[in-house]
């Protein structure tokens, strides 16, 4: 009895050792025809978009094998932590997803991703993507990623039925925040939530559109390169407006995420919601019709400006399969790839050559604005600043949400800018 038990224990120990060593050797087995694509697109419209991309990729590259390296959870923060440890251990995936723009700064400074400027030249991508976008993608004189889609952040969603109930014209447009705030107060007087909002990052999102509305595109851009003073009276006035707007929102914001806030508008419990155009998918899923069940227009005071953010793919330094990475990036940039992905995800193609004739009604308006409007970079979604700066801004905004102290918010924002200003 004792002997068998000992043998059993020894066997178990050996087994567990084997299991550990098997995990360790896993990463070395990748053969050159595998292309591991690392994302945090694991569900919903994001997953659908990725699947559509993979279909195009398989058609274009029958001899390459797509490996899904998606890490779910934490709105991408879990994936970013996993990615970082892999990059630092010299085990990068073939390509990984990142927001285009300043969010890439950290990877560039750490020498973790390749400069793709020559590839852009070679493949003719410079002609394919709009100039304004290329400008925003360029950092330290180089372009480090290939955009797969464009989202617009400064969209105001409204429920016309609710507005009517409050005695406000359904398609009323506003030139400035002040006019809008006056109407929001009327809605509040009727006992309806004027503006729905959710947890911290959606508050940063609202703050970003308020800054854009009050400062204008040029001064807003100046916030990120140091030409606009965060401590100035203009910013202070914008923060006062932000404070007023926040007082007109639902009080349980900290417990909600963005779909909950959008749902309040869909259900008619709130009149307005400011959210990026991924909210369009939520309206579509519930079979709502644009301009009858809901409206989507630029946030008051930001008409003519396209507050952009984009997902993009990179080429890690010393990746396992450079040819495979290139093939994936080519799929991303190709018209087929752009159309397939964006139709499924609800965003619009970054490439101007893609055929968008059969895109949805909202997407058509976004495509039109994208080609005509002035383009600025989103703060809340990694296009305007580094991750560090955004984290500091989010901390200041979260604090403001609980103490409502405008002076302290401005102080926090000034400090965040000083600590993170690009050299």
């Amino acid at each position: 009895m004792n002997a068998t038990r000992k043998a059993l224990a020894a066997g178990l120990a050996a087994l567990s050792l084997l299991a550990v060593s098997a995990c360790g050797s896993d990463s070395e087995s990748g053969s050159t025809d595998e292309v591991e694509v690392f994302t945090w697109w694991a569900e919903g419209s994001e997953k659908a978009g990725l699947d559509a991309l993979v279909k195009v990729f398989d058609e274009q590259n029958p001899d390459l094998k797509f490996v899904n390296g998606a890490v779910a959870g934490g709105a991408g923060s879990d994936a970013k932590n996993v990615l970082q440890s892999r990059l630092q251990n010299g085990e990068p995936p073939a390509t990984f997803q990142a927001h285009a723009g300043a969010e890439l700064t950290d990877y560039i400074n750490a020498g973790q991703i390749e400069d793709l400027t020559d590839l852009y030249e070679e493949k003719g991508w410079n002609e394919q993507f709009p100039e304004g976008l290329l400008e925003r993608l360029t950092q330290d004189g180089g372009i480090y990623s290939v955009p797969s889609n464009i989202h617009r952040a400064n969209v105001m969603w409204a429920n016309p039925a609710v507005l009517e109930k409050a005695g406000i014209e359904a398609n009323k447009t506003y030139d400035s925040l002040d006019a809008w705030i006056a109407d929001l107060k009327k809605i509040k007087a009727k006992g309806i939530i004027p503006l729905s909002i959710a947890t911290d990052w959606t508050q940063v999102h609202l703050l970003e559109t308020v800054l854009l509305a009050d400062l204008g595109a040029e001064a807003y851009n100046g916030l990120w390169d140091g030409t606009t003073d965060w401590g100035g009276s203009e910013v202070e006035a914008a923060l006062e407006d932000y404070s007023t707007l926040l007082s007109l929102t639902n009080t349980d914001r900290q417990g909600l995420d963005w779909p909950d806030a959008t749902q309040l508008v869909i259900d008619g419990q709130a009149a307005y919601n400011v959210m990026g155009d991924w909210a369009e998918a939520a309206f579509q899923e519930q079979k709502k019709t644009l301009n009858t069940d809901y409206t989507a227009v630029p946030v008051p005071g930001t008409d003519g400006v396209f507050d952009f953010l984009a997902d993009s793919f990179t080429m890690p330094v010393d990746g396992p399969n450079a040819a495979g990475t290139e093939a994936w990036l080519e799929t991303i940039a190709s018209d087929e790839g752009q159309v397939a992905f964006n139709k499924a995800k609800g965003s619009i193609p970054a490439s101007t050559t893609a055929d968008t004739a059969d895109f949805g009604e909202y997407q058509q308006t976004a495509i039109k604005s994208w080609s005509e409007d002035e383009i600025v970079s989103s703060l809340a979604h990694g296009a305007a600043t580094s991750v560090n700066w955004l984290t500091d801004v989010t901390a200041a905004v979260a604090k403001f949400g609980s103490n409502n102290d405008v002076a302290e918010l401005q102080e926090g924002l000034v400090e965040a800018a000083e600590d993170n200003k690009p050299e």
Binding site: G111, Q254, G255, A395
Partner: protein, 312 residues
């Protein structure tokens, strides 16, 4: 855990007689894997963490050099960190007092031969089987801070019972919000403390009570001079276990309030934020501070139990 240390020390001595000259080889080989694994993965990593916390390494790039204690100095002059330490203190105090009082009360009631003891024991102990993340999802809804028409969870309950004055913003209150997080924590672990105390009560021989009653002790005196002294080691264990769990609180807050929420900020959530943004030195410094705080609670306990075991 502590009791295994002395027995492991004692065992080789017994083995030596049996095996002979090289009697130390087998036992050393036996514990060697554990020593190596713990050495590398516990003490090695603690050392590496302290090393990182002393570096100038505030982004995902390599270290920019040695920074000394600067990261610690920065933390202790940062109002937000002080606020999260204060939150941690409030939370720990509430959690400790809450679980000890409730746990003792339940154990005492069951000890007085309440009917259906095993049923109540199971009911009280059950929450412990649920993970903090799972219960956090439910409590996130229960502790919803909307009041009036849109109220849900407990606020809704208070509303229907016409106890509107009890409605409150729960964990979103800047000063006391952290106490709301202690409510689910107390709900979850009171049953465990009850089980500890119940075991303590059962460990007191009936003869002791009878002897005390024979000597004319009143019921209060019986508790004061006989039962409470016997229960004090149990209470100490409970304080240590609950206390160190409380100092490491992270999952419950992440599940209820999310990582960036200001009012429920504690060092562990701040450490996660700093780590996620790539500020490795700062997050390592917070980790070291947490380790020291837990050590302040645990080490004296370990030392005292070790001494007790040796005396035996």
């Amino acid at each position: 855990m502590s009791s295994t240390v002395p027995s492991a020390v004692r065992r080789p001595r017994r083995a030596r007689g049996r095996i002979g000259g090289h009697g130390w080889v087998a036992p050393v080989l036996l514990i060697l894997p554990t020593v190596i694994v713990i050495g590398v993965f516990v003490y090695g990593l603690i050392g590496s963490n302290i090393h990182t916390s002393l570096q100038d390494r505030h982004n995902i790039g390599p270290s920019q050099g040695f920074a000394g204690l600067e990261n610690y100095r920065d933390l202790f002059t940062d109002d937000d960190f002080i606020y999260s330490l204060r939150n941690l203190l409030l939370y720990t105090a509430t959690f400790l007092v809450g679980t000890l009082c409730l746990g003792f009360l339940w154990a005492w009631l069951l000890e007085r031969k309440a009917r259906g003891e095993s049923l109540f024991r199971a009911i009280y102990l059950f929450p412990m089987a649920v993970s903090f993340v799972a219960s956090g999802v439910v409590w996130r809804w229960l502790l919803n801070n909307a009041e009036g028409d849109r109220a849900s969870g407990l606020n809704r309950l208070f509303g229907t019972l016409h106890l509107d004055f009890l409605q409150n913003p729960w964990w979103t209150n800047e000063r006391w919000g952290i106490l709301a997080i202690a409510v689910p924590a107390i709900w979850q672990l009171s049953g465990y403390v009850m089980a500890l105390f119940l075991a303590g009560f059962r460990g007191i021989p009936e003869e002791l009570r009878e002897a005390a009653r024979m000597d004319g002790a009143s019921e209060w005196q019986l508790y004061r001079h006989v039962i409470f002294p016997q229960l004090s080691p149990v209470a100490l264990s409970a304080i240590i276990i609950i206390g160190h769990m409380s100092l490491k609180v992270f999952d419950l807050i992440m599940a209820i309030a999310g990582q960036t929420n200001y009012t429920t900020q504690v060092p562990a959530t701040q450490m996660w934020i700093e780590f996620t943004r790539g500020d490795y030195a700062k997050s390592a410094a917070i980790g070291t501070i947490l380790l020291v705080i837990v050590a302040i609670l645990i080490v004296p306990y370990l030392v005292s139990t070790y001494r007790q075991e040796r005396r035996r």
